[in-house]
């Protein structure tokens, strides 16, 4: 698990003096988020520190009938004379948030870009008044700018009790214009082909409102630093998605770190003959574009009440579904000559290695548990279909069988997301989610 603050040295030579000064303030603001995250984080409790340690899920749901704010993503649940009460984040952490808002305000006054200035002012205000949808809307509606900052409570992965409460996090990035243009081109090629959906009335449709960018990551803090995801896809709220669309950001430095980890596992798992066929660049691009396709595929899989039906198992099914759907979509790109066979193989390989890496090295990281279990389902499904075999301590993938498996798994997962129950999700996880894959290699 990473520290709650992770910084990267990136090339800033293309930034103006003004942009460099603004960037410095943004990094300082992001750093101040880490202590707030540490107050929320508690991996000894399924509900972290979002709820009283001894409270049950049923008690919260019962109390929420009287006070729906208990189920808000932006409140801490506490006991007051035995009664469960909701305390808004911006009040609970007011003292810690004040200096963050001040840094953002200073950056807003310093920047020579009016629209960015406005976005920073809104982000600063919202940290102190709790009107988070307003900050999201301003952030998403501004035209792409070289600098990017996102600060506030966002992802729910630390709330394993209810999958409701959001953790504080921040990132600051600098746009890579060339990679961003390429990503936008891929997005257009993928999302202009309209997928048939299983239950159209339940589908959240925002295909025309997806924005993408690729950034050099300067700093990541809070939950974002713990996981250092290669991609992020915001907002998480379906009604905001429907209204505003979504913004996908890929982080090059996170991908480089992931590629380095993947390389170790790749060397451990495969034969010399197989390894010789994939260069470092194949692994790097495979990882980056597997993430890009994963994030784009989410667009196909947003079913309105899926979180409510699948409850705490939603993240496992949702994240795995996006990955396999991304690979499936890549098959359509291959037959149109948009990607090569080698690129599709690299993308499948990247996800397979990442799944093994999660099982081998991240199984004790609670923030990644949903990815780890999802990866185990993927690997075990491949094994059952004969797409992945183990001989003499090394693994042998069959990419054709792998694509067939991906196709089948994508259908199963989309069915669960569109109309399945928690019990359906649990059945799949019980059958395929064992972390004891390839005992010879893993242990």
């Amino acid at each position: 698990m990473n520290e709650p603050i992770v910084k990267f040295d990136i090339d800033l030579s293309k930034l103006t003096a003004n942009q460099k000064s603004v960037l410095k303030l943004l990094v300082e603001a992001a750093e101040l988020i880490a202590p707030i995250y540490l107050e929320q984080e508690n991996h000894n409790l399924p509900g972290s520190n979002f709820y009283p340690a001894d409270v049950t899920k049923d008690q919260i749901l019962e109390a929420a009938k009287e006070d729906p704010e208990l189920l808000s993503p932006y409140t801490i649940v506490e006991r007051d004379n035995g009664k469960l009460v909701a305390v808004p984040y911006h009040q609970k952490y007011a003292e810690l948030l004040k200096p963050v808002a001040e840094k953002l305000q200073q950056a807003a006054e310093l920047t020579d870009d009016k629209e960015f200035s406005q976005s920073l002012k809104v982000q600063a205000e919202v940290l102190l008044n709790g009107d988070y949808p307003k900050a999201t809307q301003t952030w998403m509606e501004m035209k792409p700018y070289l600098l990017d900052v996102n600060i506030g409570p966002s992802e729910r992965y630390d709330d394993k009790l209810m999958f409701i409460k959001t953790s504080y996090q921040a990132w600051v990035g600098v746009m890579d214009k060339v990679e961003s243009a390429r990503m936008t081109e891929y997005k257009d090629m993928i999302l202009t082909a309209r997928r048939k959906v299983l239950f159209s009335s339940e589908k959240v449709d925002y295909f025309d409102k997806v924005q993408t960018r690729v950034d050099d990551l300067v700093i990541s803090t809070g939950l974002k630093a713990r996981n250092l995801p290669v991609g992020t896809n915001l907002p998480n709220n379906f009604s905001l998605m429907e209204k505003l669309g979504s913004e996908i950001t890929l982080f090059k430095q996170s991908n480089d770190l992931r590629t380095a980890k993947n390389r170790i596992v790749f060397n451990q798992l495969f034969s010399e003959q197989f390894k010789a066929e994939f260069s470092e660049e194949d692994l790097r691009e495979g990882s980056l574009y597997s993430t890009a396709l994963h994030e784009l595929a989410h667009t196909y899989l947003r079913y309105r009440d899926s979180e409510k039906r699948l409850q705490d198992l939603f993240p496992v099914i949702d994240e795995l579904a996006a990955t396999v759907m991304g690979v499936k979509v890549c098959g359509a790109l291959l037959v149109k000559d948009i990607v090569t066979q080698k690129q599709l193989e690299s993308i499948m390989l990247a996800y397979m290695i990442r799944s093994f890496n999660n099982i081998l090295n991240e199984r004790d990281n609670p923030s990644r548990l949903h990815y780890t279990v999802g990866g185990a389902i993927f690997i075990n499904y491949l094994r059952e279909n004969g797409a992945l075999k183990e001989t003499g301590g090394v693994s042998w993938p069959n990419f054709m069988k792998m694509y067939v498996s991906v196709d089948e798994l994508a259908t199963i997962l989309e069915r669960i997301l569109s109309q399945g129950t928690r019990s359906d999700a649990e059945h799949l996880i019980t059958r395929y989610g064992s972390l004891s894959v390839f005992p010879k290699v893993v242990h």
């Binding site: 891929y186 202009t192 309209r194 997928r195 048939k196 098959g331 000559d337």
Partner: protein
């Protein structure tokens, strides 16, 4: 991830009339403007002194090589060009130049099949030599064809030919 646009020299290069015009314009620009611009850049870089440690000189030389390759490719493609006339493009059978709506692997997509030199997937121009392009040539409305690569096999149904 982006593939380098390469022109393979098979005997015929199929082009639509618009595609032919675009390639001719691109070739003219490369020969009359770009080639001279790069030549000027190389001269200016030389004037800066020692070319051994001159990044601008190296970059200009690299670009010159790319431009000359592209000129060579375009000249050869145009020499071998076979233009698909509008009147040949039918609405019952998929040919090069057909704009078609298909259902493939759960998605509905619309694109135009063009010769490989004109192919630009970002603009929905798919090569006749791509797996899906070659599988669809000659197909009729309502017909389902199998598109096969060593890894991926998909069924593709022609919904409409425009």
């Amino acid at each position: 991830m982006a593939k380098l646009k390469q022109i393979n020299h098979s005997p015929k290069t199929y082009l639509t009339a618009i595609g032919l015009e675009k390639l001719q314009i691109e070739l003219d620009e490369l020969k009359t403007i770009k080639r001279h611009d790069i030549s000027d850049r190389i001269s200016r870089a030389r004037e800066l002194g020692d070319v051994a440690e001159n990044a601008e000189y190296d970059a200009a030389l690299d670009e010159q090589a790319l431009v000359e390759n592209r000129i060579s490719d375009l000249e050869q493609a145009l020499r071998q060009a076979k233009v698909i006339k509008n009147e040949v493009v039918q609405h019952e059978i998929v040919t090069i130049g057909s704009t078609i709506m298909v259902e493939m692997d759960g998605e509905v997509d619309q694109f135009t099949i063009v010769g490989r030199v004109e192919a630009n997937p970002a603009k929905k121009l798919i090569s006749n030599e791509s797996p899906v392009g070659s599988a669809l040539l000659g197909a009729r409305i309502g017909e389902t064809v199998e598109v096969a690569t060593p890894i991926v096999r998909l069924r593709c149904k022609v919904l409409e030919i425009k």
